[in-house]
């Protein structure tokens, strides 16, 4: 078969999935905004003027046209979808600026802390898994494995406030707010990293400890391979697939976490913009942000899907994701043995 055609047949369904996720998100958000009680435009105008406003019907209709909120729901749905296809996310009711411009301005700040957070989370997860793997006694390992439930149960604002209180005010090492000073990204990133790191650690350690019990690791230990070598050569690789799957899912976590984290640390970014948009009842901005996050989410999952083909050649043929455990990686060995 033609090589290009084969690649195309592999990629096409994944691209279709990408388009579906964005389209379905748009539909879900549109349904919510349209069919929940309340007129978003009136709410936004009232919030803007600080009270109930009386706008004459003609001016109101003009504003509806301007913000893409005119006509029947059916017309609005297709009108806004048409705008979306052209990359137009509409105009903010509160500021009058194009939503796409606002997102483009604030996004880099959020991406910065999200990327640092992701790196911290991965380092934490690998480090703790290595410790749990090495732990000579059972209670120490169990203690380490108790961390994830804790990391997921802590409110993000509490993490942030504890870090500010300790590192900014007690020690005076790092700035407590803003985004200009050097080091100002560190505390927000750590706050964001904690729940993500906890989830990654849970998945990662489960995969590693499972692989540890397998026969090829037993053989390697018997041959006298040093522990760090077993960890990097035999366990890390096996744990890579389930971890990458979860990595795709953490994008949602990171995106949602920025709302709280950027508020706690008074930073500019997508999260702060979302909060301000909700305060102003600016539905156009919220919809734009949710669509943008859905697109990022779908892109990351597309990359994750393609990464499978590189990491695990067996998934290339079927084009399917393997199960989310480390088990499939062991199967062929058992068959040949």
């Amino acid at each position: 078969m033609n090589a290009t055609l084969r690649v195309l047949r592999y990629i096409a369904p994944k691209l279709a999935q990408f388009i579906f996720v964005v389209l379905a998100t748009y539909t879900v958000v549109f349904l919510l905004i349209t069919f929940l009680p309340g007129d978003p435009l009136l709410a936004a105008l009232a919030s803007k003027s600080g009270g109930d406003t009386i706008v004459d019907p003609e001016a109101l209709e003009r504003l509806r046209q301007q913000y893409g909120l005119a006509g029947t729901p059916w017309e609005q749905y297709w009108h806004r979808l048409g705008m979306l296809v052209h990359g137009d996310l509409g105009i903010s009711i509160a500021t009058g600026q194009p939503v796409a411009t606002m997102i483009a301005r604030t996004l880099p700040n959020s991406v910065e802390i999200a990327l640092i957070a992701l790196v911290i989370a991965i380092v934490i997860a690998v480090l703790f898994t290595f410790l749990a793997f090495l732990a000579p006694v059972r209670w120490l390992r169990n203690l380490l494995l108790q961390i994830p439930p804790f990391g997921v149960a802590i409110p993000a604002f509490l993490t942030g406030l504890l870090l500010i209180s300790f590192f900014s005010f007690t020690l005076g090492w790092l700035p407590s707010s803003g985004s200009r000073q050097p080091g100002s990204a560190i505390l927000p990133a750590v706050t964001l990293a904690l729940p993500v790191g906890a989830i990654l650690f849970q998945v990662f350690s489960a995969a590693v400890l499972e692989a540890q019990a397998s026969q090829h690791v037993f053989t390697a230990v018997a041959k006298g391979v040093p522990p760090w070598r077993i960890f990097t050569a035999h366990l890390l690789r096996n744990a890579l697939l389930p971890t990458i799957t979860v990595l795709g899912l953490t994008i949602g976590y990171l995106a949602a976490g920025t709302a709280v984290v950027e508020t706690v640390f008074s930073r500019d970014g997508i999260g702060r913009m979302t909060v301000n948009a909700v305060l102003a009842r600016d539905i156009n901005v919220i919809q734009g942000i949710v669509l943008m996050i859905a697109a990022v989410y779908a892109t990351v999952n597309l990359v994750v899907d393609l990464a499978y083909g590189v990491i695990d050649p067996r998934t290339r043929r079927s084009g399917r994701r393997p199960a989310r455990t480390a088990q499939p990686a062991d199967e062929p060995k058992e068959v040949t043995a």
Binding site: V152, A153, L162, I164, V260, V278, I283, I286, Q287, I293
Partner: protein
């Protein structure tokens, strides 16, 4: 009961008992009037008189936390109820109808699960307006996707069981089959998920009230208390940190008990 010998589980039960008392009869636990300002006792650190210290208006933080329990937990409980009912109905319909309808519904559920819950909640709050009820509805909608999945898998498991086929052969109508056979069998997994979702919902609700979308100011909702204390983080850190620690303790307790309901020792 082996569980009762585990200190973590017993402590969790005690925490939940305290929460229950604080919801039903807050004045049994509180030591001061949660709304009364005592100007001379402003911004005091925790002491025997004021267990959690006092805020900038001289109100007892401990009593405010106790009286805020009902607001915080009821929003979260509403969220779980919305999730169970909406998600449950969707899952039930999806599992029973099968075929292309099932496929279409479940793809939409995939998307609902993929959108971060807090963003869905923000959309609902922005459209409906602020307050504990819209927060509960919003967070619940974010949780509905996972309930739909659990319910559907239970329906698929039960619908081909022999006793269900027997009931249908005997001429039982669809509603009877659903209420007599499917729902009772699906109850335990759904309750286990509901218990876990309660912890998540408490976190979601507190995040939204921290951001200022909850009940208007004097209401002592936990997230709002923490947000109000944020202005005093430099000199009076307990004002914002203690309400956060209370949320952490309650979520840990709820999650521990939820795992026990789910069958984990």
């Amino acid at each position: 009961m082996r569980l009762l010998r585990q200190p973590g589980f017993v402590i969790s039960l005690l925490v939940l008992l305290l929460v229950a008392v604080a919801i039903v009869a807050p004045s049994l636990l509180s030591t001061h009037d949660p709304y009364l300002s005592v100007p001379k006792d402003r911004l005091l650190p925790p002491s025997a008189e004021y267990l959690f210290g006092t805020d900038n208006l001289g109100r007892d933080l401990y009593s405010r936390v106790v009286h805020g329990t009902a607001l915080s937990i009821v929003s979260a409980a509403l969220a779980v109820a919305v999730g169970v009912v909406v998600g449950g109905l969707v899952g039930l319909a999806s599992g029973f109808l099968g075929g292309p309808v099932d496929f279409a519904i479940m793809r939409l559920v995939d998307v609902l699960v993929a959108i971060p819950g807090i963003l869905l909640a923000l959309i609902v709050v922005a459209t409906l307006g602020f307050g504990p009820v819209s927060i509960g509805l919003g967070v619940g909608l974010g949780a509905a996707g996972s309930f739909a999945r659990v319910m559907r898998s239970q329906v698929l498991r039960v619908r081909n069981e022999e006793y269900v086929e027997a009931a249908r052969t005997l001429g039982a109508r669809m509603p009877a089959v659903v209420f007599r056979h499917v729902l009772p069998n699906a109850a335990r997994p759904v309750i286990a998920v509901a218990a876990l979702e309660l912890g998540t919902a408490i976190l979601g609700v507190s995040a939204l009230t921290f951001l200022g979308f909850g009940a208007p100011p004097p209401a002592p909702e936990w997230g709002a208390l923490s947000a109000a204390g944020r202005d005093f983080i430099a000199a009076q850190p307990w004002l914002s940190i203690i309400p956060g620690l209370v949320i952490l303790a309650v979520v840990l307790a709820v999650n521990r008990v939820a795992r026990a309901i789910g069958g984990e020792r």
